[in-house]
Symmetry: C2
């Protein structure tokens, strides 16, 4: 039976494909290569199938769904900030794309889906660490809205058409093959000017980080060890890391230790940025999964591998 | 300043327009008349403006938004059951329509929105009566998914573009001008056969009901008396009414007291039907609003007026 990974050529997707192939699964990737990259999958040769297609093309999704036993739906616009400028990207590439995945599943008889949701569905939560049953869910970014909308579509398909679903609410996922995010941005900024690093906000933003291979492994671990109709899990670590600390670590790992750190000020990086996000991942840990890296360890590892991938400033 | 009511020719919308006009507001209705009806608004003559248009036409929505100070966004597909057969109706007429309303607001500078959400965002809640901060939110109908997706779009516009929002999670709203729902269906069934009444499910489904004028008045009361960025209120009564009891009341009010009641069986009316929904409306009551009718009173009043509107079987 085939496992379909949407966004399988992307940052998290390609690591998930690695882990699924290690597990001996028959993997099919569906990706439009807008942020996914061919070289993230090249090492698999002919072991996996790769379909270049867009999730907004329902016919293409239906074709890709043939013979699929389970879908890992990871494809999405990866850039949360984009929603402040272009307002329909998350609606289309998040919500409508998820609708097409579910509709193709219904039409082709595929019954199991795992979905990459995000801690941003919690918005500015009043309880931290935030558990999975937290409410109300008032996301403040358009990206967050599309993640919650996608979760809701999935649970409605479970209730109406008998699907089984895994909803994973990701912490900030970092690691090799990163194509966006704060560490990636900092290294690129230092490439442009190695003497000063501009940090959006006051640097006190503080969030949970998880290393990407931990994230991929956690997804597979939870799917193997749970069997409810809806299985909702925060994927994160026990701690957090501040943007201020990330800036210091990036300066250390790039060797730009003399660079000044310049804060633009304000409590958040941009409109829609959640200043503090700490996930309660006890439900994941209780299932016997322990991440290999804590937040700061994941950040340092990521800075190190991204400096290798991008080059030293 | 103009108040725009989307779906203003519909069941709840037309009652809301009545109340806003009573309050001396300058009301503009936007409706595609798919389930709204001209005669629900005729009594206003030229007091209100009526625009016939579709929310899926962003240009039309932008035009309708000019000079608008606040939007009451009530337009949606009113038939929850439809999602079991046609899967993109709620996505388009719920989620995408809400996106267009918000985008038109952003482009035209309109800052305040009240939204008709629903108790179905709670799915099959484990806590009843269910308060506004209940989680997780796992709606089981496609209609419910579109309501939660719309809420999320609204809160993301609040967080990203500085809107102010009122989110109203409706109990089952019943009353005059009803165009759908269980009481409406029962009366129509008795028109076809006054000797027997088929009830979907085992009749033990039990939900909160609220009379439609109470609902419209509650919305206006909350908007007048709250001023947070996001104001989320359950609109309901203190009690519930079972489908079994509704069937009895409809038989009494139609005079079909000798008709048999035939249950199709099962704990829900259809896939995606929530068998039990009881809203905790303490937050509304604490604001000084008391509904004129409890659930059973609202159901009886509705049966009585709908028999007048539809005719006696």
């Amino acid at each position: 039976m085939v496992i379909l990974v949407t966004g399988g050529a992307g940052f998290v997707g390609s690591h998930l494909v690695d882990r699924l192939v290690e597990d001996g699964q028959n993997v099919r990737v569906f990706d439009n290569f807008s942020s996914g990259r061919e070289d993230f999958l090249l090492h698999h040769g002919d072991t996996i199938q790769t379909i270049v297609g867009d999730l907004l093309d329902l016919d293409a999704v239906k074709t890709a769904m043939k013979g699929v036993e389970m879908v890992y739906h990871l494809a999405a616009n990866p850039d949360i900030r984009l929603g402040t400028q272009v307002t329909d990207t998350d609606l289309k590439q998040g919500t409508v794309a998820t609708y097409n995945v579910l509709e193709a599943m219904r039409l082709e008889g595929t019954k199991r889906i795992a979905f990459a949701s995000s801690s941003v569905v919690y918005g500015e939560a009043e309880i931290m660490p935030t558990p999975e049953d937290y409410g109300p869910l008032f996301p403040i970014s358009l990206y967050g809205a599309s993640k919650l909308a996608s979760e809701a579509l999935i649970t409605s398909w479970v209730g109406t058409f008998g699907l089984q679903a895994w909803i994973f609410r990701f912490a900030n996922i970092v690691g090799s093959r990163g194509t966006h995010g704060v560490i990636f941005d900092f290294i690129h900024k230092l490439h442009r000017d190695s003497n000063s690093l501009e940090v959006l906000g006051n640097g006190l933003q503080e969030k949970s980080y998880m290393e990407v291979i931990d994230c991929a492994s956690a997804m597979i671990h939870v799917v193997k060890n749970t069997d409810n109709e809806i299985n909702c899990y925060n994927l994160g670590t026990k701690d957090t890391c501040s943007v201020r600390r990330i800036a210091e670590i990036v300066l250390e790992e790039t060797g730009c230790t003399n660079a000044s750190i310049d804060y633009t000020g304000g409590d958040r990086g941009w409109a829609g940025d959640v200043p503090r996000a700490m996930l309660d991942a006890q439900r994941l840990f209780a299932l016997g999964f322990t991440p290999s890296h804590d937040s700061e360890g994941a950040v340092r590892l990521t800075a190190r591998v991204l400096v290798e991938e991008i080059g030293r400033p």
